[in-house]
Symmetry: C2
Subunit: 431 residues, 2 copies
């Protein structure tokens, strides 16, 4: 059951409180700094020791063998599902591959924009043997492959026997990952950011993780000797906007799917009437009983609520203020909505667009900005695996045309060596 609030009767303060994410404590900063320090100074030795301490596994080697990857097996049904997901994810990420552009900005001046794959990327998949997050692997490995990144390595925590779940090994094999390190947590991030004897140092690290992983990513990304990262990660969340024609069973199922992610997940429903809200609450009770992660679901539903609001402008305002990671518009008329939305991770349209479909098989990337970061960050895409630079061609005509303007502006800025670099060329052209 979710708390039901009548939006328009709330005070400004209460409205703000409704759209505030649950706070997660973070006292991990120093622990993570220590782990990074250990990995940097002791290398492989630290990785063996930390994996024994945190994962309870005595590793025989820091790398999964090619035979293990090659021999891993899954059922035929699973293999078919994996291949279907790979096909759509590949199609989407190819469709957003940026194209080289070229423009003449003035006579004699041409600027091309070039894209290159990031040379070495590190992928991180959390979880472990019980919940092999194969979809998290696909969402990183496939865009890396589409972008053409030549070196791709994967870290994922081992079980107590030091093993990696076979589903993950097969998913890695199918999506072109050949280098797998059985490492998890902050030590995995540190190893990929700085490299050790056994672990390849990478340029950029991707993937979700717990608070240790997130903190480690933050720390290594502010160090020029470390690596870049994809984006700040937080607890998952969904906002659903539904009208009275929406099936309450579908709405409840979508809320429960998001709620099972973790105790700090948040789910919010905006609907037009109390009637709808109450039917959804009934469905929540009905469906919840059959699910295995009930304890987590109950905790996240306690952070969550239903907002009754039937005013279109106000509904749009709630969405853009909250900036949800996932937005489901389960309404009859969805077309008019998208144009007004500017702060969201991804949008699902219509009754059949379950968020689960986007998590696995639509092809869109499910690594998305949480915690309101959709205001100013994007979900993962092919371009995150590329660098972009401009190539500036200037002819004699070009410098004769705009050189004098450059000299004027450089002089205003007090940079006469800048002006000199153009003037010396202009002088050489005066005969």
């Amino acid at each position: 059951m979710l708390a039901i609030k009548n939006w328009q009767s709330l005070s400004a303060v209460d409205k703000k409180l409704c759209l505030t994410r649950p706070i997660t404590s973070s006292s991990v900063k120093n622990n993570v700094a220590d782990i990074i320090k250990q990995v940097r100074s002791l290398g492989d030795e630290a990785l063996y020791e930390l994996t024994e301490r945190f994962d309870g596994a005595r590793l025989a080697s820091l790398q999964v063998t090619p035979e293990q990857i090659h021999n891993a097996k899954v059922s035929q049904t699973t293999l078919t599902a994996m291949n279907q997901a790979i096909k759509t994810i590949t199609a989407y990420h190819q469709s957003v591959l940026p194209e080289h552009t070229q423009v003449t900005t003035a006579k004699g001046i041409e600027i091309a924009t070039a894209y290159r794959p990031i040379q070495k990327v590190g992928l991180y998949v959390p979880g472990g043997n019980k919940t092999p997050l194969i979809s998290s692997l696909f969402m990183q490995a496939i865009p890396a492959k589409v972008a053409g990144c030549p070196i791709k390595v994967l870290c994922t925590p081992p079980d107590a026997q030091g093993e990696i779940n076979e589903h993950l090994l097969v998913a890695a094999r199918l999506s072109g990952i050949e280098t797998i390190y059985p490492l998890g947590g902050a030590q995995a991030i540190a190893a990929m950011a700085y490299g050790t004897k056994s672990i390849t140092k990478v340029d950029k690290i991707f993937g979700p993780g717990n608070s240790f992983v997130t903190e480690a990513k933050t720390q290594i990304s502010s160090d020029p000797d470390g690596a870049a990262i994809d984006m700040p990660a937080g607890p998952s969340e969904v906002m659903i906007v539904a009208d009275d024609w929406a099936n309450p069973a579908f709405i409840a199922a979508d809320l429960l799917a998001q709620a099972e992610h973790g105790a700090d997940s948040q789910v919010l429903l905006i609907c037009d009437s109390v009637g709808c809200a109450e039917q959804v609450n009934q469905q929540l009770l009905l469906q919840q009983d059959k699910l295995s992660r009930q304890a987590l679901i109950k905790q996240s539903l306690a952070n969550s609520m239903i907002l009754i609001c039937s005013d279109f402008a106000e509904q749009i305002n709630i969405i853009n203020s909250y900036a949800p990671e996932h937005l489901i518009i389960n309404r009859v008329n969805t077309a008019s909505w998208v144009d007004k939305i500017y702060a969201v991770g991804t949008v699902f349209l219509g009754p059949w667009a379950a968020e689960t479909m986007g998590d696995y098989v639509t092809g869109s990337n499910h690594v998305l900005p949480t915690n309101g970061f959709a205001r100013n960050h994007n979900g993962l895409s092919t371009s995150d695996f590329l660098t972009r630079f401009s190539v500036q061609s200037i002819s004699q005509e070009g410098i004769l045309n705009l050189g004098p303007a450059a000299v004027t502006l450089a002089q205003i800025e007090g940079l006469d060596a800048h002006a000199n670099a153009v003037q010396i060329r202009l002088n050489s052209l005066e005969i």
Copy 2:
């Protein structure tokens, strides 16, 4: 004069040392954290106090009046140069404006990619009254305008009288900036990240600055209540690759232009022969004497050197290892080079392509990754002022087609509420 090193005779350790940036000390962390805390707790009051302390200015108001912006004047020559720069910068940033895409990834599944302007952006221009960095303003304000960001505010430090240089006011007016706060340093960044009574809170902060500004940007960007930032900034740098046909006077002028930025700037020349290196050193001595920022230039030349290396593969390797902010290829045959380069901020091709041209008038953006960040970051562009999200439309056919695969994958990941959200829809379609 630059130190001349014969690349191929160097040991691996010495090669690495040659490509190491000069270290800048940073003991500003705590000072900056204090400033941010003051601005968050005391708001406008702190801004008045800190501006008096750091800029020596008693401000009458925290905002430049519309009259001041409207009445600011510059010479006709300057106005013409500014308008030429605005024209090319606009043309380039329009040419890289991403287009909405749409793709059918499977039967019944369609994914559109939408772009929206970031709603509130904060621009920062360092410097002050003596060196009004109008080009830094253009490089932020124009892409923000092209992207369509509705709210754009500018912070720039005042002089001791609390005034802003008229060149900057005119540049702001011409590039569509109406809100200017006379604030500099960490306090300006804190004010835009968190907002005060007088200062608009923004979603993302752009622009270069000293170590205080950079540290403040780092701190506010890791706080979900703060703001996103453009990129990590460091001292400016150039790498030039020249052959024996290149004019040594042009090479020296380009090295000096970069060297005048600051004592910690670095300039590196790779050339084919000792003869070229010595001619460039002669030209450095000759040209240096006439420049006003000689003290800075001498310090940065001390961090810099000429590498003799005539092997193409090795030259490319040096470039990609160093990942320079600016690369000038001053050689006869430049076409074959660009394809091999993957880590660079921007490239200038040919003898007339002075880096100064790119700083002001080619239209390309001059805010670029320094400090080796070109390995994994991009220069500023229109897309940095946009957010991107996917819009996922799934029909009945779509869920019938790929729903079963989603259920299979969700179950492998142990997420049965995820599976349920699809299964409940599939069940409703069985008659």
